[in-house]
Symmetry: C4
Subunit: 233 residues, 4 copies
């Protein structure tokens, strides 16, 4: 296998979703991109996490054609490709139907930034896409799912590395990162802060975080003035 | 034992309910039907899941008479039989008191279809039966429980393979499927989407999913145009 | 040890609370009564569940004097004794601060009977005591806790074997049974139905169960016409 | 290592946070103080709990200078130091982003004392700090976090050993104790009572506990008249 290492890493990340309690049965998928080779590796469609082996991971070129592998790729592959094409610095994408984040997506509400746990990883609210039209759903649905995410980040001028997650209205969350580890990390934190947000809004529907506290927490962990962790990030 | 294989499979499915966290103590039951032989296999009444062996599973004919086995069958057996007689294509039934789905049943509210996680497995809301009358409860209660489910699906024209679950008002959920694996799968997904729905409605009481998105997700997984998974379903 | 068997059983039941997720640290306690010998066995005060051995269990007479054991008994012992003296048919008592049942106790609201899961084990709402007076709290507090429970059951004419649990206002739940197994069982079911009730009331604040359905479910499991389980109960 | 024992104990307490389900990834931190030596030991910044060894724990003097260790200390170290300098009797501090307590902190609401579970460990509501100003956040943020906690306890005249926890507005909980075991214990109980409080307020927004019941429960466990546990505390 030419892309053995990529497939092994992609498999490990997919299995990490189960360990973190983000998925049940065959739900969810992780992909990684190799930008030099112009390919992505992604989970096969409808295969259980337990029985999955590196050989089941599917490698696709950026037009969605199979480059290596004998399984059908995740039906969400066109969404992943659309994001890789437009968010040039991301290296991996995680899609789940994790409970709390999906509740916000189904409610068609962004997850507001209500505290420093959120601000440590996401520079502002987790936005929610507009609803897709009947035409967008009926034709080229999965690719259009990627398009409405990209459209949202462009229109709002959001940097996808500063807000590495998005909610698709009526569907669920996508998270990403420079590396596959950070993408999985962000998917876990997204679910965590979504759960806190549900409870916070129940206690105080008007809760909000001042922007200077958001700035403080995000930039003590990210960017050139970061001072959290053992080395500069 | 003539029905050894049927009893082994039925036992395994009953034990799967425990693994998926859907039942405590002796709550819940799974049955399977063998339509050629005209029998069903069902969990015994009030026996703990841990100590249960294939020989404890009770085989009944479709009039509810014991065909094989020395235990008393689940007191819900007449409900299961009523469903098998009227829903000709189902092969297994799962009854639980799983927390979130039971909350909707107790609230006497259907679980609305609020997102694609729901739409992937259930073609529309999970309906709730009407309340049973005093007479229906006092006489032939368990069989009448099956009857109000069948009545509901008939009156609303719902295909039980497209919406493979129902809430019994004031009681709890029943789920089913062509196979015992799909019946257990549907019972787990039902609980999952019920939990998401509680939280979604808390965030937005007016949340809803457009019908074309329901169509898209259900039919990409089910029916002749399905394109999810490794083969046609 | 004269009361070795009683202490071993009481220990096992206390440890079962941990397995069922009803207690953290040293919270909660189980006692058993031996009515012939006129003694109860109860958990020691403030001892961790992991390190507890049969010799730590304290045996008291019904005036609260130590009959066997070198540890101090649970500070709740006078509450248990008061209940044994007044509820003549119960054989064991379980006190926990389990989350959902405690929330109702703190809210000073009974747990209404909203479904058949509740009706299978408790014949009607789980009542909540009146608030205790300053005098009752400051003097003989733990014994008075037992007294307000007994007062409540007497005033409302509730049979403690038909409703084997009570919420103490601002405090938490007590459950009991003829045997120690049924007392633990009832404590687990109480927490389960409390969790379902919170969610049901959130979905429908006016939810209720008709009395004929309560009758049906309770009496198919309890009393001379019961037909649930493998033998008469 | 001069401070080997201190570092080993601090490590064990940090790992206990994971066992109690209070932290994910590198979130949270525990410190201990050695007042004779004038040093604190604290978790390193951004290091995973699994791989952490005693040599990773950082020892600082009370001016925040490294006394022993090669790692960077937790970025929250100045908050811990500020608390040790002002709360003279505490021996250890635990900071987490545990879900329920953080929800109250984000809602900027104190956790009211709603029941005896709370009253057993905290003598009254868990207070929440005022919001910090832009200036306090931008300059010397972590030290100012400690200062607003101290300011709150001073202004309200709260004894930090009687209420061994505080919520920082928009951020999360800090808990502490005379010993590291009691600090971890208090952090766990804080999360427990926060979860109960969310649910209690949902059931009854006007719930409250009379002060004489608070007095009774707190002082049966704490102070010279305590009678809970196996010895005087």
């Amino acid at each position: 296998m030419k892309f053995e290492e990529l497939r092994i890493k992609t498999l490990a990340a997919n299995k990490a979703l189960v360990e973190h309690g983000l998925v049940v049965f065959t739900f969810g998928n992780v992909s990684m991109v190799d930008r030099k080779e112009g390919v992505i590796a992604i989970k096969p469609s409808g295969v259980g996490y337990e029985e999955m082996s590196p050989g089941d991971i599917v490698v696709l070129d950026l037009d969605g054609r199979i480059a290596e592998g004998s399984k059908k790729p995740s039906s969400d592959a066109p969404t992943h490709i659309e994001l890789y094409k437009n968010f040039n610095e991301i290296g991996a994408i995680v899609h789940t139907h994790s409970k709390n984040a999906t509740a916000f997506a189904q409610a068609k509400k962004p997850i507001p930034c209500l505290g420093t746990t959120h601000a440590d990883y996401f520079y502002g609210e987790i936005p929610v896409t507009r609803e897709m039209t009947k035409e967008e759903v009926e034709r080229d649905y999965e690719r259009n799912t990627g398009r409405v995410i990209v459209e949202l980040f462009n229109e709002k001028g959001i940097n996808p590395l500063q807000v590495p997650a998005c909610l698709v209205a009526g569907h669920g969350p996508f998270a990403w990162g420079r590396t596959v580890d950070s993408a999985v990390y962000n998917a876990v934190m997204l679910e965590e802060i979504a759960g806190m947000a549900v409870e916070t809004l129940e206690l105080n529907p008007n809760a909000e975080l001042p922007s200077f506290l958001l700035d403080k927490h995000f930039f003590r962990k990210h960017g050139k003035n970061a001072y959290y962790g053992q080395k500069e990030q």
